[in-house]
Structures are given as structure tokens and as C-alpha cells.
Symmetry: C2
Subunit: 239 residues, 2 copies
Amino acid sequence: MKVLIVHAHYEAKSFNAALKDLAVKTLSEAGHEVQVSDLYAMNWNPVASQADFAAPTNPDYCVYALEQRKGYESGSIAPDIQAEIAKVDWCDLLIFNFPVFWFSVPAILKGWIDRVFVSGHFYGGKRFYDQGGMAGKKAMLSLSLGGQPHMFGADAIHGEMDTLLRPVMRGALAYCGFTVLPPYVAYHVPYVTPEARQAMLDDYRERLLHLDDLTPIDFPRLGDFDDRLYPKKSNEEKT
Amino acid sequence: MKVLIVHAHYEAKSFNAALKDLAVKTLSEAGHEVQVSDLYAMNWNPVASQADFAAPTNPDYCVYALEQRKGYESGSIAPDIQAEIAKVDWCDLLIFNFPVFWFSVPAILKGWIDRVFVSGHFYGGKRFYDQGGMAGKKAMLSLSLGGQPHMFGADAIHGEMDTLLRPVMRGALAYCGFTVLPPYVAYHVPYVTPEARQAMLDDYRERLLHLDDLTPIDFPRLGDFDDRLYPKKSNEEKT
């Protein structure tokens, strides 16, 4: 298996970076090929803008998704974007490894998605969700945060973790066709004992060695919706 | 009323920018004071990192939230962050005006939140949700997207809009104490007729003139949770 880890922590000595290092080691030793995009180390530019297009089709009015499609086709889209697209094309499994910032991904990772998941190649027209451009590949989140498990859930103070992660898991990964595995969540990271820290690393290692045992998260299938994207069932109910 | 609009669109001639311009005009004419942080025009840096701290308390190991707190207290946090904090302190209403990128805010706006909502001042210890540092201020999202209303909802292909917006509305704004008004959502923007476009602008203008009529969104209150942040009700049920 070919694995791309997109890592988004500013501190190389952090627990989050240890998760990334552990994944590289564990997966490599298990015979997989691994590439890492270490966004802070790469000084990744997260800002989607006109500057991404050397040969814009309309220099006077930028529609980002439109220019993405044309720029990707012509090879004139920014080289840093092209390099990341090539890595995603190469991989069978994409891992986002990040600390939770504001119940979401850090801006540097959001901007990797904004710029790399280009229209036309990752999605476009009726090619999204199970029909998305990345269908056949898997994706997984590996995240760390300060909160504790009891703070997440239907009646918990912050609500359900899966809901908080929906924009990235459903709106970005599943939308582009990735089969999304359940997230690995390391809770309470700044406050845990060395033993608990090691236990989390051991847990993550076990998961990485048994990824095939994970049941992917269920997301919409285009076949359940009509041509205008109304749910088919509700149309049947109407008639 | 003092209003800060944080605007995050790359194209000055876009419909999204027209929403921002309309808000400036409408609110100013109604007697309010308005400031705009136009993030693309400001060339805003969205990457939270060690570079934000001129005098880090620990140069060898960065814990971003900890350095934020100390850097804000000592005035050594990056000047661009200080300037934005001053604007938020000044305002009574904060508006995020943005196009939806991947069911979420663009990276440049995510990074404004990541860097500006500093620990200690915006939240910290048991000061969050209704006890957050920005309690007494209001906030509202104004967003544009390509999807249509029927694509959002409980059984709709993309799920519920409020759920997709939860990380920013609940996880960032409500968490810091802002009273969050319902979002203004402009659907199907790239595809609508000039008449429909004008109707959306008219709708937004009406809303801006009657903000007091809006019922804020309900979010958790710390009083409903115990000292360890378990729901009080569930504890009562246990006994």
C-alpha cells in the first residue's frame, strides 16, 4: 500500500508529530511505501488565490474552481499544487495528521485542501461522493486535542465528534470519493501521564497494523438521489 | 452599534464582495460604525506558528495556546494579531463574510480565527460558551455557495447546513462567548439570474436593518454542566 501522510503541526517535538513519526515507522516496517507532506516544514502556502494560476482564462475575474480545472488541465497551475496532486494520485491511503484548532483543522491544512483538491480531477459535474475522482482510495484522520472523551457526544458539552469532523470527512474527503475510515482521536493530550501517552501511541500502532479491520464511515451515494439531487425516496413518497 | 466585518473572498468583483460592500453601506447609513478586515487585501497570514511570538516563554517547545496567553499579556504577540484583537474588542457585532470552501471557511479566515482568538482573552479556564471572554457581543455568518437549498437538510445530499457550520458557529464563536445570530446563506450564486442576485442582496439588506428581530442560536451554557463538564441532568439521573 502507498500512504501519504499530510502532517500539520508547528512543533516537531509534539505528541502530534510523534503520531506522524510512528505512522511512518509502523507502516514502512509493515512493507508499505510512505510519503509525508509536513506542511509547516514545507512552509506550505494555504491561501487559495489568483496567484495560483500562471495563465488564467480570465485575468479580470477569478472563479477559483474554474481556473483550477483549466490550470490543472494545462499544467499551468502552481507547481506546489501540482506536486501535492501527484502525491495524492500516487497514494492508496491519505492520512491527515493534525491537532484540533477550533473544532476543526488548522488553517495550513484547510488551505492544503482548498488548493490541492482541484475541480475537474477530484470532483466535478456529477462526479462526487461515491462517484468522486478519488474513488478507490482510502482516507483517515489522525488528530489530537485537549478535551476529554466525555466532552463529546450527543448530550455532551461540545456535541458529537463525528459532527464536528463532518466538514472535513464528508465535505472534503468523502465528497471527492475517498472511502473514509473512522478517525483516530487522541484526547486530553497536554495533560496525560507518560503512561497514558504511551498507551495512545500503542493504540495508534495497533490500528495502523489492522486498517483492513476498520469499517468505513457511511456517506451519501449518488444513486440514492435523482438528477437534481433530491432524495429518491422522498420523491417516491410524494407521488 | 460598532460592527467588524471580516471578509475573505479573493475576487473584489464577486457577489460575496458585493455582500460585504452592501453591509458596509447599509449599516453605515443606519448610523452604525463599521470596520472591515479584508483578509485578501491585507495579505493576512493564516498560519499559526512560533513566529507569532517575539518573546516566547519556551523557545525550545512551543505550546501555541500557552504562548498566545503570555504573548497577549506582555504585548509581544505579533502586531498583526494585536491589531485584529483590538478591532474585535471594539466591536459589538462581528460578521464573517466568506464563500464556502469545502463545507467550511476558506483557510485565510480559518487562520484569522486560529491566530486572533487568543487564549486568556477570548477564552480560558472555565471561561467559555456563555462565560467566554466575548460575552455580550454578537456574531453572524454571511456566506455564499454554489449549492441549492434542497441539497441541505436532514435527508438532503449534503446534510444540515447548521451542522456543517457548527465548527465555526459553536466551536469558535459561541465557545468564545459571542451570541450567534442565524447565518445569512446565499445559495446557487454562480448560476442565478441577475434578478435572483438582486433579490438576495435585497434580502440581506433587510436582515441587516432588522438584526434585533433575529433569534440567536441556542448553544450550551456552562451552568448546565458540572465542574468536570459532565451534563448535570445525566448526573442526577445516575443518582
